[in-house]
Symmetry: C2
Subunit: 138 residues, 2 copies
DNA sequence: ATAGGTGCAAACGGTTTGCAAATAG
DNA sequence: CTATTTGCAAACCGTTTGCACCTAT
């Protein structure tokens, strides 16, 4: 039984082949994909799953902590496979690959912000853009 | 002549009362507003401006560097008044007020990222959430 | 006079939803 | 057997667009 099926069972949801296949696309691609793009990839793998199920399942995976969502540059939702809890994403502008990054030395930043502007930081969202190791070498 | 009218002239665009009024709403509110919310505020100020003009003007202001856009939590576009070029936003969870923040000590972060994962950071997007000075004191 | 702006209504397109049939447990 | 999931088609709703009229220069 796959890791995703286990998580589904833990939460009292049904583990289905449809869900496995959708999660597999995210896991294999590791880049931000729109529901439409996920659907296309499923079709190209020979899995005929409806677009509405793709929408529903992607939201489910976000709820399970298996995927993260954001709005892409055209305002569409995009989803990426996710493994750890609090982290940020480094998006390669060349190949689109998304790497996970720990948030690191933000405590100092938070302290300066409090001293300078009186703003009490509680949370943060960071996205980094650049070139991944593979694409830099090319 | 207002600052916005000047900028419009510099870019060869017409300065209109409609545009002044839309920009004034952003300037007075200083929080993220959807086109719909801007429209409502205009109406409550007695200005009957069409929603499509609000959409067009907000995008225009972004192009002029007078406003910044993002997708809100519901996937809708939201706009905020903006004065300086490269900066980030600290959003107060209590009153919604948006403050501008300089990006500060991210060079060290970028260096660590390159050393650890080989990722060459070229750009970054940061949003901070918390409580502004006024709301913290309450 | 003319290039550019605005309002209106219709079109567009991503996303959600209601419901009957299919499937997991 | 029962609760959940899925596919389909329609509805939804934020956003864009075409066009006639209006306004700034």
């Amino acid at each position: 039984m796959s890791e995703i099926s286990e998580t589904l069972h833990e939460r009292g949801r049904y583990a289905t082949r449809t869900r496995e296949r959708i999660a597999a696309v995210l896991r294999d691609e590791r880049r931000y994909l729109t529901p439409h793009a996920v659907h296309e990839l499923l079709l190209s793998r020979g899995a005929s799953i409806s677009l509405s199920t793709v929408y529903r399942t992607l939201e489910l995976l976000v709820g399970l902590g298996i995927a993260a969502a954001r709005s892409d540059e055209h305002g569409q939702n995009a989803y990426v496979f996710c493994t750890v809890q609090h982290h940020h994403h480094a998006v390669c502008r060349s190949c689109g690959r998304v790497e996970e990054v720990r948030c690191g030395p933000l405590e100092r930043f938070a302290r300066d912000l409090r001293n300078d502007q009186g703003f009490e930081m509680e949370d943060h969202a960071i996205e980094l853009y650049g070139r991944c190791a593979d694409c830099t070498q090319r």
